[in-house]
């Protein structure tokens, strides 16, 4: 067990866990922030995506000891009231079905749009290709990202 301090959604947490514990399980089991999902444990599906200093990261592949002073943002901290443009677009396009993967999809899309504000369809597909949606809401994900970027979703 190691004592660590991490900043999640602007809040400082002191935790005692084995240092190699993936950030995913610290978020879910230690801090009770269950919006970040377990999907594969191998970085293959993107359900666990969070932001480290604004960049998307698979939390299942991120040992908590490697986070250091970087600011962690989870879906719970993306906005206080679902007002992030990506969240608003997700509602407008009615993207989620079961919704399980959508935290990861939204976090991936938010980081992507921050670096690529006006993406083409090809860029969207490339950026989102690591995020699996088994309900296969892909076409609405594309439209929502276009909408969030100020382009016509349809």
């Amino acid at each position: 067990m190691t004592s660590l301090a991490i900043t999640v959604n602007d809040k400082l947490y002191r935790i005692e866990v084995p240092p190699e514990t993936p950030l995913l399980w610290v978020l879910r089991d230690t801090l009770g922030l269950t919006g970040t999902k377990y999907g594969c444990g191998m970085g293959l599906c993107g359900a666990c995506t969070v932001h480290l200093d604004g960049e998307s990261r698979r939390s299942c592949q991120t040992p908590v000891s490697s986070v250091g002073a970087k600011k962690i943002t989870t879906i719970e901290g993306l906005s206080r009231d679902r007002s992030h443009p990506v969240q608003r677009a997700w509602i407008a396009e009615q993207v989620p079905q079961c919704g399980y993967c959508q935290s990861g999809q939204i976090m991936q899309a938010a980081a992507f749009l921050a670096s690529t504000p006006h993406p083409t369809r090809e860029q969207i597909d490339e950026a989102m290709n690591g995020n699996i949606c088994r309900c296969a809401t892909y076409q609405r994900i594309r439209r929502a990202i276009q909408r969030a970027s100020g382009q016509n979703g349809r």
Binding site: W25, G32, G39, M42, Q94, C98, G99, C133, R134
Partner: protein
């Protein structure tokens, strides 16, 4: 999508809410005594006209939804149906999962795309019953005739004087009234619908964009622990011995103990449980276990052995004959131009994004269960039977499901969670890792179909025969003593209908038709997978129609229209969806070289036709560019829901067409995670265009519909583009790479 003959699946569902009798208990809940008791409780007055509705004095309207929410929209279509008759503002409605009390709620399950169809009448009656009682309460208060009053936007209005009383104001007086018989209320005519038929936003979407939606795996209760089970990788294998000493020293691990296999309706594998402070610690503990397994009866089974077996079974006499109209065998043996084809599809995994899990707290005299399930009352029944507690002492919370596609129709994982939790006495969440989920699923059956068709001298299609061979769902899991026997296969009208449904060629007009069935034994557990037999029977049937069309030198669309030429409501409905699909997809218009279009259709319940447009990449992989889907499902209760289901079902099925395959080696599944079971990703997802046929017919399901026609539509498009006939799914890129070079 439940066929008439699919008695067992239907009986199994016991979704008897279509009969008024099933609703009696729920409708009688809001008795005077109860309402008064509620009123004296001090937390404000609540009008409970029945078990599904609560209206409070501050105009809050709560709808209790029985059907689990798996992503299909039950928490939206149910309140839509109720609100339609209740005459309330959509924004006033709150949705809750109904408690698992099957004596009151008899629809705590969903399957067979039946949710909307089964609730359409009962849930409108729920709203209408409340509306009538509220109108009566207002009329009495005003001392006017009931007929002079109407319900409007959450209030009762007295027509002649324009006086209004909000539902909240009427909650008290309405609670004093005797119950209105739900079967005697008048329901609206479809032309007057305000909500039904409008694309309303889903009630659960806001919670699914901010991380607040609580799925089964998100359950957090005080003092809870987390567990995983090490299961034998070989189906039917058993634990011989284990050493848990090294697991116990992993930080956070609390307990290590064996759990026996349970020979139940849906058996569990048994193995060694590791219980820990966190999911991660439990996983690490499991890795440290030393395990020895007895291989069990299936260790020689492989995909190759299954392939051989199904081909053998296709050539041998059938287990039974399903349909024999005319004399197909004799005609096909005679002087006809004969066409033959065979089609094969392998096991498929459900691979829901949320792996299986259940949280259980075994207390001294009761058990509390939190389970993401498609079948809440069966979870309860299973744990009642296992624990010998009375039903009311097993509290089951039906949690949001992170996908299901048929997988959460089994309750093995809930039984396992109970097995672990009863040894711990603290709440325990059993989590399946992705690897567990991939390797211990109940898979879509392996199947093989052999077809023959014959044209007479005038070019008329006069005979058709189909042999369906599957590793049947019925008779699955025999190796652990599962009680359902292969005897059930001798009754084609019951369980066996699962295996061949969709292979009947009706409504195509072909005078001689024979359909027969053979089973192939396997140790691999099988069950329902989105669209069940219709995930493979249309692949064979509609590809074979394509073969017949080409063999007779005719256009595949026109060939179908000709087979549907005469007048019958069924044929007219199918011709209409075919026509619209062809027009919308530019059927017949030239395409660049290397591209192709394929068409397929189906009738019964919901009608549909699909056109897929594809190209073949240089590496031989197929890119599906566009899918046009025409849906005639009767009234589309929530058209945006119908679209979403159709888009999703098409893409779900594309996994099985393009890349997904579960293979068996030495009696175990070879795949373990998303690197080797490759599900569809966004760069493979086509643009899907959904056209909904306007209709005033009662609604039918769409959850599975979209999945049925993708395999033949894409395979036929591949033939159009390359001249290569796809015989086996997923499509082998090597096959098409050769055709390109």
């Amino acid at each position: 999508m439940i066929p008439q003959t699919q008695v067992s699946r239907r009986g199994f569902l016991k979704t008897s809410t279509k009969t008024a009798g099933a609703l009696i208990l729920g409708f009688c809940l809001g008795t005077r005594g109860q309402a008064q008791k509620q009123a004296s409780a001090g937390d404000g007055l609540v009008f409970k006209p029945n078990a599904w509705l609560r209206i409070t004095a501050d105009d809050q309207i709560t709808v209790l939804v029985e059907k689990p929410e798996l992503g299909q929209g039950s928490r939206t279509y149910t309140p839509m149906m109720i609100a339609e008759e209740l005459e309330v503002d959509w924004s006033a409605i709150h949705v809750e999962q109904a408690p698992t009390i099957p004596s009151i709620y008899q629809g705590l399950r969903t399957g067979g795309s039946g949710g909307v169809a089964h609730t359409f009448s009962p849930m409108r009656k729920v709203g209408a019953q409340a509306r009538e009682m509220l109108i009566t309460a207002a009329a009495r208060q005003w001392k006017v005739k009931k007929e002079e009053c109407r319900a409007e936007n959450g209030a009762v209005v007295h027509g002649p004087t324009n006086r209004r009383l909000r539902y909240g104001e009427l909650a008290g007086p309405a609670s004093e009234l005797p119950q209105v018989n739900p079967d005697q209320v008048t329901l609206k005519q479809p032309k007057n619908f305000r909500f039904i038929g409008k694309p309303l936003p889903r009630t659960d979407v806001p919670s699914k964009v901010d991380g607040s939606a609580v799925f089964g795996i998100d359950v957090r209760v005080p003092d809870m622990l987390f567990a995983v089970i090490a299961r034998c990788p070989l189906f039917g294998g058993k634990l011989q011995s284990f050493d848990g000493a090294t697991a116990k020293i992993v930080p956070g691990v609390r307990a290590v103990f064996p759990v026996p296999p349970l020979p139940r309706r849906f058996n569990t594998a048994g193995g060694v449980a590791v219980v820990a402070d966190s999911t991660w610690a439990a996983m690490q503990g499991r890795k440290a276990l030393l395990l020895r397994w007895d291989k069990g009866p299936g260790s020689r089974e492989s995909t190759e052995s299954l392939r051989k077996l199904v081909e053998e079974r296709a050539a041998a006499p059938p287990t039974f004959i399903v349909i024999d109209r005319g004399d197909a065998r004799e005609v096909l043996a005679g002087p006809v131009k004969k066409v033959e084809g065979h089609y094969e599809s392998p096991f498929q995994a459900h691979a829901t994004m949320e792996p299986m899990n259940t949280t259980v707290h075994v207390r001294d005299d009761e058990i509390e269960v939190w389970s993401p399930t498609q079948f809440g009352d069966e979870v309860q029944k299973e744990i009642v039977e296992l624990s010998s507690l009375p039903t009311e002492k097993v509290i089951v919370h039906m949690m949001l499901c992170g996908g299901s596609f048929g997988r959460r129709y089994q309750w093995d994982y809930a039984a396992e969670a109970w097995q672990v939790a009863k040894e711990i006495k603290l709440p325990v969440q059993l989590v399946w890792t992705r690897e567990d989920d991939m390797q211990h699923d109940f898979y879509r059956p392996y199947n093989y179909q052999r077809l023959s068709g014959g044209f007479d001298a005038q070019g008329k299609l006069v005979a058709w025969s189909t042999r369906v061979v599957t590793t049947p769902i019925s008779g699955s899991n025999l190796y652990t003593g599962f009680t359902e026997s292969l005897e059930t296969l001798k009754d084609p009208a019951t369980v066996a209908a699962l295996e061949w449904y969709g292979a009947d060629i009706t409504p195509y007009s072909i005078p001689n038709f024979r359909l027969d069935y053979s089973h192939a034994d396997s140790v691999v557990p099988r069950s329902w997978w989105r669209s069940v037999a219709s995930s493979y029977t249309p692949f064979a049937k509609e590809c074979f129609v394509d073969e017949l069309a080409h063999a007779s030198g005719r256009d595949p669309f026109q060939f179908r229209m000709d087979l549907l030429a005469d007048k019958s409501p069924e044929k007219e409905r199918l011709r209409a969806v075919l026509q619209l699909a062809a027009e919308s997809a530019d059927w017949g218009k030239a395409l660049p070289k290397g591209r192709g279009r394929g068409i397929a259709c189906r009738a019964g319940g919901s009608y549909s036709a699909q056109v897929a447009e594809i190209s073949v990449n240089d590496d031989g992989t197929v890119q599906v560019l566009r899918v046009v889907s025409v849906v005639d499902c009767g009234i589309a209760v929530n058209p945006d829901g119908v679209r979403a289901m159709t888009e999703g079902a098409i893409n779900f099925a594309l996994t099985a067409v393009l890349s997904g395959e579960i293979t068996i080696k030495d009696g175990a599944v070879e795949q373990s995670n998303f690197h080797d079971y490759q599900v569809l990703r966004i760069n493979q997802a086509p643009e899907v265009e959904v056209h909904i046929v306007p209709s005033l017919e009662d609604p039918n399901g769409v959850g599975e519909l979209g999945a049925m026609l993708v395999p033949p539509a894409v395979a036929n498009a591949v033939f159009a583009a390359t001249g290569v006939r796809v015989r086996r799914l997923p499509i082998d890129p090597q096959l098409l790479k050769r055709s390109k070079s």
